[in-house]
Symmetry: C2
Subunit: 189 residues, 2 copies
Amino acid sequence: MARAGVTVERLTLAAAELADEVGVDNVTVAALARQFGVKDASLYFHLKNAHELRVRIALLALAELADRVAAALAGRAGKDALVAFANAYRDYAREHPGRYAAMQIDLDPETAAASAGVRHAEMTRAILRGYRLSEPDQTDAVRMMHSTFHGFVSLEKTGGFRHTPRPTDDSWSRTLDALDAVLTNWPSR
Amino acid sequence: MARAGVTVERLTLAAAELADEVGVDNVTVAALARQFGVKDASLYFHLKNAHELRVRIALLALAELADRVAAALAGRAGKDALVAFANAYRDYAREHPGRYAAMQIDLDPETAAASAGVRHAEMTRAILRGYRLSEPDQTDAVRMMHSTFHGFVSLEKTGGFRHTPRPTDDSWSRTLDALDAVLTNWPSR
DNA sequence: GGTAGTAGCCTAGCCCTCTTAGGCAAGCGT
DNA sequence: ACGCTTGCCTAAGAGGGCTAGGCTACTACC
């Protein structure tokens, strides 16, 4: 019998695609095996367990997003960079809902440290260079930025904004204006 | 045989408690049945399916949180109210991680409309009265506030802030300062 | 070019969860 | 006391997660 040629990389990619289609929670080892024309038990040769699959999706997504953000950030500074970062983030989340959701599972510390998450942190800090903030304000600002982005995207996806008719795109752009304003004029203690 | 006295209310409460202990995803019909000393199939007399269980946890959490926020908001205005709201929100999320996670599943529109979510929206708008914002700025500000709260709490829980040693409490308090500042000085177009 | 050895896949089988269908009995109203 | 409804049961099937153990296709090496 010819071999299916399953590798961890191919599995991860297929899983990510499946996640975007049917949601992370429905990414099952069995479904993946079917896609590869293989029995589910066979995948345990490549995978420790179902959880590892989700972790791998998360790591893939983190890396992909970091690449996008890096590309968007190239040659920009100040508010320009802020907006580019934010839009890259939001666009990725909307194009890849499953991968984005996978990013939200908490990785154990060593996995997280080895992930592209650190690149995100660096890039976020890079943006703040245009706003001349010193520690610990910088850390606080990074956390606020990330919170705003993630919160907005997350609420938008789960329908938290559906109560009001105003287009979310408009609110998004105004939120970025506000974020820029507060970073420019970061309150002192 | 004596009856177990299962009701939807008792089921929901037990499910919510279970969610806080082991996570929403592990709230299973079978586990719940065990807790009540009942066979799992019996619960389908009270529940349509497993999804309804999660929805009920979400609705319970929304109502509980709305109560807390209302109590925290009583007699306060301006930044005082903002901070009280924010802390009530964050405290609830940390005390009840499972319920909070359940709140994030998207309800179908009519269920959402009948939920305590509308009370949240009203209360959030009430806070903004102290900041004299008119539409559509008010909607944008509400969305930004909610995004910041949810984003921060969510990232804090999944360990997104563990990279940096700075205490999250400090960043939280400074984020609220920043939010107050930007609401006070909402940028014009 | 035969032959080890390993990598890749399979079958069998277990446990758990979700859900439906149909049955029996407890406790209510009359 | 007698039904009728309500609350629980057993039985059973469809999936999913995962382990143990076996066979086979390929690789490397003599």
